[in-house]
């Protein structure tokens, strides 16, 4: 469904993404792991057209390399950001409607936007300005707005960062529901191995912009190279 072919992104001398290839299949929860600075968020920025890059990305058989971000969104790829992005000037409802209005390829469907607000448990905060939301609320809102675009793929970037144990459980359930109940393909970048292995299969592990290995949760957690570079120096797992 989404296919990256030898993509490379250099910032000056640094190759943040270095000759990476992978393929995400429909219905998967595709995990991406790797230490800080491995190039995970940059990879999202390439897929969603924020930067120019070498190589090629195909979505549903269509070459999306070089398309502007808003067009990629309308084709059905939507995302959240590692550092929560919200529209302080808008309410929760207005933010979600914005996704529905601009990001979906079909006609604007306000009923579906309402559904996404309740789906993300934001019913109570519907008319609130978004800067009143707490961290979990902001993350839910990014997901609700992204979902309002009726995506085929939802890409989330470190959705658990900064959340407490209870909130992590709620966020995990939300992502599971998106994949299982709404049948949407999910890509998830997650630093917490425990969460990632519970949610995702397969998982791609990258370091310094290149692939270390791809495999099932069992395969990657027992891979000595992964343990050395990732699990070895952080104790999140």
């Amino acid at each position: 469904m989404l296919k990256a072919i030898n993509i490379t992104k250099k910032f000056g001398a640094l190759a943040a993404v270095d000759d990476l290839s992978f393929e995400v299949e429909e219905g998967q929860v595709f995990g991406i792991a790797g230490p800080n600075g491995a190039g995970k968020s940059t990879l999202y920025n390439l897929i969603t057209g924020f930067y120019k890059y070498e190589g090629k990305i195909e979505f549903d058989g269509q070459n999306i390399t070089g398309l502007p971000t808003h067009k990629i969104a309308r084709l059905g790829i939507s995302r959240t950001f590692q550092i929560p992005q919200i529209f302080e000037s808008l309410t929760v409802e207005e933010s979600v409607n914005l996704g529905g209005r601009f990001g979906s390829s079909g006609k604007y469907d306000s009923g579906y936007c309402d559904e996404m607000i309740s789906f993300a448990s934001l019913e109570q905060e519907r008319s609130d300005k978004t800067d009143l939301l707490n961290l979990l609320g902001k993350k839910r809102l990014m997901i609700a707005a992204a979902m309002a675009t009726k995506p085929k793929i939802l890409m989330v970037d470190e959705p658990m960062a900064g959340l407490n144990a209870l909130e992590i459980k709620q966020m995990t359930n939300l992502i599971k529901k998106i994949n299982q109940d709404l049948n949407i393909t999910v890509i998830i970048i997650e630093h917490f191995m425990k969460v990632l292995t519970e949610l995702a299969n397969p998982i791609l592990v990258i370091e310094n912009g290149s692939e270390i290995c791809t495999g099932t949760p069992e395969e990657i957690t027992s891979n000595p190279e992964v343990i050395a570079c990732y699990l070895g120096d952080t104790h999140d797992a």
């Binding site: 502007p68 808003h70 969104a73 529209f87 000037s89 207005e94 914005l98 990014m142 209870l166």
Partner: protein, 337 residues
């Protein structure tokens, strides 16, 4: 602010201004002040739309106003276009130039946009005074004299017909204000705000920054150019003196007084600022100093201008209550395990 409050404030303010000629119609001084309140309120509204809502720090608004004035003057004087047509052509020309200025601004961050657009204003004066300007009929440093008045329904609208001109301006003011409200409350307005708050997130939700930023340049420069044109047929003469820093400063004061991004606060700001400016005229050179002091005080005490003041006391009590409720809720939520 919701559409209903916007329309109410606009209707009350312009309605009040609209009945004043019944009492002040004989006084040419008051009629001139009232007319300038209308014109500046619209020009400042456009600036608020692009700066306060779209978050684009365009400092070229005075330049667009002057371009509108020159375009209509040249069209009517050199090409004999009838003024009621030439003012709309001038608006269109200004919109096209606005979009051209907007293009390099798409890739620039805030302060650089301010620099580019302000440089554009600075470049306009030598252009109009120089040989290129003269070639298109700007009249060089002498400017253009005897710009014909707007003539419709067998009537002249100019500075010798102050009351009719005021009402013509009022009609166009109401139309342009309605357009601004509709834009702000439509999905365009939401797109402007979203792009201002987070361009990345907005783009990833399908909003084209390219389209909506150029759109806001086009709309605001059209209306600004139209009002520059309307003004030139009123005063009848035109020179590059219109590009003065004072016009720029006073417009900026209107926005600050009204509250940036608090439309229609800027309309109230225009009423207050033009009135103050006139009252302070006897103070001579101290006038701008006092106005400047006023801005400092407002920025420090009332960051949302008079709109913030109104909000503090009335309609918005409810929202505030809700805000506190929520803060409370979040605090209790965060302290739970």
């Amino acid at each position: 602010m919701n559409a209903k409050s916007m329309v109410t404030i606009l209707a009350v303010t312009y309605g009040f201004l609209g009945i004043l000629p019944l009492f002040l119609g004989d006084s040419s001084i008051y009629m001139r002040i009232l007319t300038m309140i209308l014109i500046w309120s619209v020009v400042a509204s456009c600036w608020d739309l692009i700066m306060g809502y779209a978050g684009i720090f365009s400092f070229g608004q005075v330049a667009f106003y002057v371009i509108g004035a020159y375009s209509s003057a040249i069209l009517s004087v050199s090409l004999n276009v009838t003024p009621i047509v030439s003012i709309f052509m001038a608006g269109t020309i200004t919109a096209i130039i606005g979009v051209i200025i907007g293009l390099p601004c798409l890739k620039l961050a805030g302060p650089y946009i301010a620099l580019v657009t302000f440089a554009f204003q600075l470049a306009l004066e030598p252009f109009l005074k120089g040989p290129l300007g003269k070639a298109i009929g700007s009249g060089g440093s002498r400017g253009i004299i005897s710009v014909p008045p707007i003539h419709i329904f067998g009537m002249d609208f100019s500075s010798s017909e102050l009351v009719p001109y005021f009402y013509l301006t009022l009609v166009l003011t109401l139309i342009c204000s309605a357009v601004i409200v509709v834009i702000l409350k439509s999905h365009w307005g939401t797109a402007f705000l979203a792009l201002k708050d987070s361009e990345d997130f907005a783009a990833s939700l399908g909003v084209s920054a390219f389209k909506y930023k150029l759109l806001v340049f086009a709309v605001t420069s059209f209306i600004t150019g139209l009002f520059g044109a309307l003004y030139v047929h009123y005063v009848g003469i035109l020179s590059t003196r219109m590009l003065s820093m004072e016009v720029f400063t006073v417009l900026l004061i209107m926005i600050v007084v009204g509250g940036i991004g608090q439309y229609p606060g800027v309309v109230l700001g225009a009423v207050v600022t033009v009135t103050m400016n006139e009252l302070l005229r006897p103070m001579g050179i101290y006038r701008l100093l006092i106005m400047g002091g006023m801005v400092v005080v407002i920025v420090l005490l009332l960051p949302d201008g008079v709109t913030g003041l109104i909000r503090k006391f009335s309609v918005f009590r409810m929202t505030k209550k809700r805000t506190e409720q929520l803060k409370h809720r979040n605090e209790t939520h965060e302290s739970s395990p």
